[in-house]
Symmetry: C2
Subunit: 394 residues, 2 copies
Amino acid sequence: MNNFQFSQPTVCIFGREPESAFKEQLRKRNVKKVLFHYGGGSIKKNGVYDMVSAVLKELNIETIELSGVQPNPRVTLVREGIDICRKNGIDLILAVGGGSVIDSAKGIAVGAAYDGDVWDLYIDKAGESDLKKPLIPVGVVLTIPAAGSESSPGSVLSNDEGLMKRPLNSELIIPVFAVLNPEYTFTLPVYQVACGCSDIMAHMFERYFTRQKNVDVTDRQLEANMRSMLHYSKLAQDFSDDYDIKAEVMWAGTIAHNDMLSCGRSGDWASHNIEHELSAIYDIYHGEGLSIVFPAWIRYCWKDDPERFLQFFKRVFDVDYAFSHAERAINEGIARLENYYTSLGLPIRLSQVEIGEDRLREMADKCVMHRGDSIGNFKKLTADDIYNIYRLAL
Amino acid sequence: MNNFQFSQPTVCIFGREPESAFKEQLRKRNVKKVLFHYGGGSIKKNGVYDMVSAVLKELNIETIELSGVQPNPRVTLVREGIDICRKNGIDLILAVGGGSVIDSAKGIAVGAAYDGDVWDLYIDKAGESDLKKPLIPVGVVLTIPAAGSESSPGSVLSNDEGLMKRPLNSELIIPVFAVLNPEYTFTLPVYQVACGCSDIMAHMFERYFTRQKNVDVTDRQLEANMRSMLHYSKLAQDFSDDYDIKAEVMWAGTIAHNDMLSCGRSGDWASHNIEHELSAIYDIYHGEGLSIVFPAWIRYCWKDDPERFLQFFKRVFDVDYAFSHAERAINEGIARLENYYTSLGLPIRLSQVEIGEDRLREMADKCVMHRGDSIGNFKKLTADDIYNIYRLAL
């Protein structure tokens, strides 16, 4: 087990009728001026916009709205938000939406504390030591269980110049509170539910596939949460307004990425980066990119540590083959993983989202750029490896 | 699932060579005067006292020592600590030891913020609203994985007047940081290891035995951690200086009680209170009291919700009987639980710790005192019920 530090400072307000606890968070921080940040307007249809507006109005909080966050959130909108924060003395950025909105809000918070261009922070041209502290805090009202960004230190932004998508990790941008009401997810389209579940699963796969030995407690925690997701993903599509089902998925999604499940281990994260190249160029959903990349990544990497994958497929997917038939068990496991994705309506091959061979080499090269020519901790992957994985996913 | 709020503010510093992270916590809080609180002196033999002293000296932190915390920590020593804090302007209480030392430190913190006698806060004669805030923060250097007090809001104290043992729960006393170095647990006697494991398990049993429906995600998290403990408890006795084994137990113990595993559910906690009467009068270890009480409590209560216990014994203890044989499966499950305790050298009957029939009625009556004549959430237990459970444990 590795040394680690863990705390989970985000106050998660989970359940129905969160208004009074939400107000308490705003009051106790003495919030006066909020940047109300959201996406394409779905929150105006499902009542969440009205709930948030009513709370802000009741507390006499001055509010500036910045909407229009897209999936794969763009640094251009983040720059607008930074400008608003500076000109108006914003004291809380309220992200109302899913992971894209939250990541965009985090980008604004970190960018407002930096003298140069915010993109520098995403391509490691600048870091935490270049920031003016304290940052403007980020609060969250979550509407999509997926990214886990509501209590994580991560933010991923896209830059249309060069079609780049890059992550930033800093404890300084962990949200101070997150309102998690499963009812807010009832109106999510079924395909979005699937993409969210795929993202939640991927956060756990990345953590599970480690070379670190003696991490049994977190292994079992991960397996437990993956089994819950296997069980509830399809139910969340089929019974979209069942509170209890939506609640299980929402909480599993937060746990999956709040770093409790990283304690003592180093995750892999290659698949996330391999996917980011797909969504950067083709603007597909992150969740559908992940359901394409993961089976291919496992096919390419499992022989580097068969026991890890055999344990994974045994404990999570109940693949209980004779121990002498490792390869057969792995193949069955991959088939079950693909069945899980397919049952949710997700693609498992690039051809299903109309991505062909033409730009695979370009994406593979770009994926290792600024990263010392390789990615991944479980197995170091070069541009050639990544190219081979894309080909396996065709 | 119930509504809930969750955060885990304690900064857990886990692993070898924690000195620099420990110093960082003291520095960033600008600590000047510490109450160094510990137990019977085992920390002087295993190097922990020297480590802590060296750190405090290096940072020029003025230190007042208060040692002598006993298992089942006494309110009398807490009163001494409160006095020291008031007279010396202590700005951090550093608990170096196990749950008893931490609970005692929390008692000092809460008592120093209260004008009356600290015991009032443990028998609900006074509450949070009577405290002067902010409280003196509590920091922890943990040497016994057991109570989970290092990141919990709980404290349990004993009062020799009336032989009472009572819990207090308040978010105000959650430790601000906890140093968790598995090496500090190498010298723990094997019987103490067993008592600690029994306590860790009990924290999860109390949470697991709920009447709340639709708590599958936390059910599975609990089952995962219980399985880890089943596996590692005996190993932690047999290989006392194996870092990896000790690390798994230490982290499982913290998770078991940091309230992540309570999210959305209400636990039972009757067995803890039934045990507290035993250790209050007979001064037995909490862990050995629990291994006596739990099998009896399950025998007495399982028929109120057989599915919960069948799921528990199936998923945690692998009892895989025909579903038509519920009672047979439960009996087998209880036998396996008792085998687990016995394999660690723990008692499973009152007679094994030389407790007879004579004071059972007295303890049963005392157990419901100040508590509206019943305890427990899974099943409301009256004094008569508790008496019957004690008898089942004879």
